[in-house]
């Protein structure tokens, strides 16, 4: 069984960023670049490694598209247990062109399973995995938070996360593309020593230009701007209170406002639990 995993390197989201209009994007203000693998992609790799633990014959190949700095992520993936990695050196102007390049390489691997993170934390388009699946003409399941594989019948059962806590269970035959959410698993820690120990032997570096370069983008960035600042919330004192109490609340930060009965349950444990249960049932969460 061959598994291909797409892993992208992103800038550490904890770092402050500023807008760079010239690049029509954002960049970190930190002098030293701090990169990490995209969390959802990391989870996809973890899922692949776990599948291989159960099926030792499986082979995990990581495909990374990015500049030379992405070598950090390539090493990370190998240290975590990927059998080999293909590093496509270069940058794609948009999600579509990235998917085309990745799809081209993945097609060459003829994988039984393609695992991707559902979306990257930086661009967050969520378009790359579906586009790859379309280009490879294989089924796709997105937003997956649990994945079971039946190797005998080559059928994947995937739990999709829907809105309001709802779940959808999907079965599909392999080969297929599965785009996972980062909560699907807890990736193992990879020690720095393990990363430094990784040799280059299993890395195949391919210059994007040698593949004919990125294609023509289908989208164009028109404008990049910071988000509209969120208005600061000021709590309105309950009108039933006296003027004096309302003043105290406004100036005191509003801590002492009596709780409204809205969604707050009080009473003996049994009553509270049964009310929670009926709420969950009403919402179709059980």
């Amino acid at each position: 069984m061959r598994i291909a995993v797409c892993v992208k390197q992103i800038t550490d989201p904890a770092l402050p960023v500023e807008f760079v209009p010239a690049q029509a994007g954002v960049a970190t203000t930190e002098t030293s670049g701090a990169y990490c693998p995209n969390p959802a992609d990391r989870a996809a790799l973890e899922e692949a490694i776990r599948i291989r633990q159960v099926n030792p014959s499986a082979e995990v190949t990581v495909v990374t598209l990015g500049p030379a700095e992405s070598d950090y992520t390539v090493r990370y993936c190998l240290a975590r247990g990927a059998d080999r990695a293909i590093h496509l050196l270069g940058e794609a102007p948009d999600a579509y062109t990235a998917a085309v390049v990745l799809g081209q390489v993945i097609k060459g691997l003829s994988p039984d399973l393609v695992l991707c993170g559902a979306r990257s934390l930086d661009d967050a388009t969520g378009q790359v995995p579906p586009t790859i699946a379309e280009l490879l003409e294989i089924p796709q399941v997105t937003g997956v938070i649990r994945l079971d594989l039946d190797i005998e019948t080559m059928v994947a059962t995937a739990w999709r996360r829907l809105e309001r806590g709802k779940r959808e269970v999907v079965e599909c035959s392999l080969p297929a593309l599965i785009a996972v959410e980062s909560c699907i698993n807890e990736p193992r820690y990879v020690s720095l020593h393990a990363m430094q120990r990784m040799s280059d032997r299993n890395v195949q570096r391919v210059d994007l230009l040698s593949l004919g370069g990125p294609g023509q983008p289908l989208t164009q960035t028109v404008k990049v701007s910071p988000p509209r600042p969120r208005p600061k919330r000021v709590s309105t004192p309950d009108a039933s209170l006296s003027a004096d109490e309302r003043m105290a609340l406004l100036f005191g930060g509003g801590q002492s406002q009596p709780k409204k009965s809205g969604g707050y349950l009080e009473g003996p444990v049994e009553t509270v639990v049964s009310e929670i249960m009926s709420f969950l049932q009403k919402e179709g969460l059980l």
Binding site: A14, T29, E30, C36, R80, P187, Y189, S191, L192, R197
Partner: protein, 652 residues
């Protein structure tokens, strides 16, 4: 006639004795050979330097039994048995010689009148000590002792040895009508047995002599299979004790394929000798904060688990360090406070083993997710809080504290540390400390965003590769600035810079702020205001106190302030209970049991102090959290000494 000179079923007693002795010696030596072979399978470590210091330690801690006297009754008991063991070995040599020769005395030693009263009185003393020991084990049952057959078998053997020796002596003297004034106990027994028929006296003498001999040989055989192996292993173990700076862990060789311990052979031979030396006395467990809080760690059980793992013959030849012997939860419960090592009478190095095992776990990625996230943050941005490096000096912004320009000579480089830079509670300390420096007109500077985590959390969690990378980066930065002195308020940074950076070529003059403040007070550069007196209790941070002997300077600073009255809590100085924050605990997930900081806070609060002072940002965080939990935050303030010094300074 000597019993070994008699014939038994026609066989000379001498022959029987020799046969028994050879058998016992064979079993003993075979076991010792096996144990030594296990040691030799361990990693290389050099422990034969500084022979003078080693000899001194041997005299004080082996012959002087110094550490046993923390517990005076049981220490005295042990010292009596130990001394008895040494003195009575003269009698044993005599016994062996007589057995081999059929009754001849050892030249110069045997049958010397002035030795017998000594031997005789020690037989009685040891017997008394054994009775006391049995009483303690069976009736008092201190929590640190595990009631197991092993200890009682040993006590029984010793008591048997003494009793048979005395009885044999009694019958011998009764039989020979020897005056025996030099053996008072023997003489008394002899008089009691005087009525017995002479032939029976000889028979009893022979019977007790042989029982004594068999007890002795049985002791030899049982010894290397029991906790009494410490008789053989502990004296060399004390001699070979670590003379490394107490706070420094040994660097792992990153050139190796893996770091840390995954199988027993990954330990060094000295770490394995430690396991043989354990006497199961449980003194380590008694002082362990994790054990006190009901967490799954007992240093004693850890050592015993590893020993069982080592000495059980694994057929595969590969002894995994885990597999039930040691649980991951136990390893992650350690605060590395070092109380166990400070108390251990035979100088077992518990913390080094725990870190070695943690290194093995980290290498294989077995970490709680919150711990993994902190380590990843360390690797990405150089601090476990995952805060941007550019914000590292923001705490000083309101006061316009400049960071250091390269090549600019500076008296003191203030190493702020991650907690001091990013954490609100830590920032209070760094702000207070920098205010104190300004009041005392000290020419100082900070590194700003050139500073990174010192690496202590990484190293204590077992991420040696990351630690070494951080250490090397920091050493490079510091060497560029060449500060005359490095000042830090965090005992973990202090210990790291002072004791562990030299391993990587970083030799700096490092001073903890408690020392620095004490110096400033001595030089009269700080003066304190008079006022209403408040009571203060001081919490000893482990990495300042136990690891670096910084007990006096912080107390000196507190005593210098007229508005503070120092009241000591229980368990202070080398016996202090950890706040629960060390050894990376702040970033670990050890949820079992109670919280150590709540327990420690309650102890400190017993003094009814209004202020709990400490000299460590982690102690402050942990105790402050505990004050919140106990609901006394409005009555008890938790403060760093720097904050108290600044508040009370009359210069401001």
């Amino acid at each position: 006639m000597h019993p070994s000179a008699l014939h038994y079923l026609g066989i000379p007693g001498q022959w029987i004795f020799i046969l028994l002795l050879v058998l016992a010696a064979f079993v003993l030596l075979r076991r010792v050979h096996y144990l030594i072979a296990l040691l030799r399978a361990g990693q290389v470590e050099h422990r034969l330097d500084q022979l003078r210091a080693r000899s001194r330690a041997f005299i004080v801690y082996v012959l002087g039994q110094r550490r046993l006297f923390h517990d005076i009754p049981s220490g005295t008991m042990h010292a009596v048995i130990f001394l008895g063991f040494l003195v009575l070995s003269i009698g044993t040599v005599e016994m062996l010689w007589q057995g081999l020769t059929g009754g001849a005395h050892v030249p110069l030693l045997g049958d010397t009148p002035y030795l017998l009263p000594l031997l005789d009185s020690f037989r009685i003393l040891v017997l008394g000590a054994v009775v006391f020991a049995a009483y303690r084990r069976l009736v008092v049952r201190p929590a640190r002792l595990t009631l197991a057959p092993g200890g009682l078998i040993i006590l029984g053997l010793i008591a048997g040895l003494m009793l048979t020796d005395l009885l044999a002596e009694g019958f011998r003297l009764a039989g020979t009508r020897d005056t025996g004034w030099w053996a008072p106990a023997g003489r008394m027994l002899a008089e009691a047995f005087a009525g017995i028929d002479a032939g029976d006296q000889q028979a009893y003498y022979a019977a007790f002599w042989w029982t004594h001999a068999v007890f002795f040989l049985g002791f030899l055989v049982y010894l290397p299979y029991s906790k009494h192996l410490h008789i053989l292993a502990a004296p060399p173990n004390v001699f070979l004790r670590s003379l490394y700076p107490k706070g420094a862990l040994r660097p792992a060789d990153l050139g190796q394929k893996t770091t840390g311990v995954a199988s027993m052979q990954d330990f060094t031979w000295k770490q394995l000798l430690d396991l043989y030396s354990c006497t199961e006395c449980g003194r380590c467990q008694e002082v362990c904060p994790a054990h006190l809080a009901g967490k799954p760690l007992s240093p004693k059980e850890l050592v015993l688990g590893l020993r069982a793992r080592l000495t059980s013959r694994a057929k595969s030849g590969h002894h995994s360090a885990f597999g039930g012997a040691v649980s991951k939860e136990a390893l992650w419960s350690c605060t590395t406070c070092g109380a166990c090592q400070e108390r251990c009478p035979v100088f077992i190095e518990h913390v080094a083993k725990i870190i070695d095992l943690r290194r093995g776990l980290t290498e294989s990625g077995v970490l709680a997710s919150c711990t993994a996230r902190s380590l990843e943050a360390l690797a990405l941005v150089g601090n476990p809080q995952h805060s941007p490096p550019s914000e590292r000096k923001d705490w000083g912004k309101p006061r316009g504290r400049a960071s250091l320009g390269q090549g600019q000579p500076v008296e003191v480089l203030y190493w702020v540390g991650c907690t001091g830079a990013y954490d609100a509670s830590g920032q209070q300390i760094s702000t207070a400390m920098s205010n104190v420096l300004q009041l005392a007109q000290v020419n100082y500077a900070i590194l700003g965003d050139a500073e990174q985590c010192c690496g202590d959390p990484a190293r204590r969690i077992g991420e040696e590769g990351l630690f070494q990378q951080l250490a090397q980066r920091n050493i490079e930065t510091l060497q560029n600035y060449q500060p005359r002195r490095i000042l830090t308020h965090c005992p973990h940074c202090y210990n790291m810079l002072k004791n562990e950076y030299p391993q990587f070529g970083g030799q700096f003059s490092v001073v903890h702020h408690s020392e620095f403040i004490a110096e400033l007070i001595d030089q009269d550069r700080l003066r304190f205001a008079e006022g209403v007196t408040r009571r203060v209790t001081y919490q000893d941070p482990c990495y300042l106190g136990r690891y670096n002997n910084g007990y006096d300077q912080p107390r000196q600073a507190l005593r210098a302030m007229p508005t503070l009255e120092l009241a000591e809590a229980e368990r202070v100085q080398e016996n202090a209970l950890c706040c629960g924050g060390g050894g990376g605990q702040v970033w670990l997930e050890a949820n079992e049991g109670q919280r150590i900081n709540y327990i420690r806070f309650a102890q400190l609060q017993d003094t009814k102090s209004q202020i709990i002072a400490t000299a460590c940002p982690f102690c402050k965080l942990m105790l402050d959290d505990a004050a919140n939990y106990h609901g006394v935050k409005n009555r008890v303030q938790v403060k760093d000494i720097a904050e108290l010094v600044y508040e009370n300074c009359s210069l401001r």
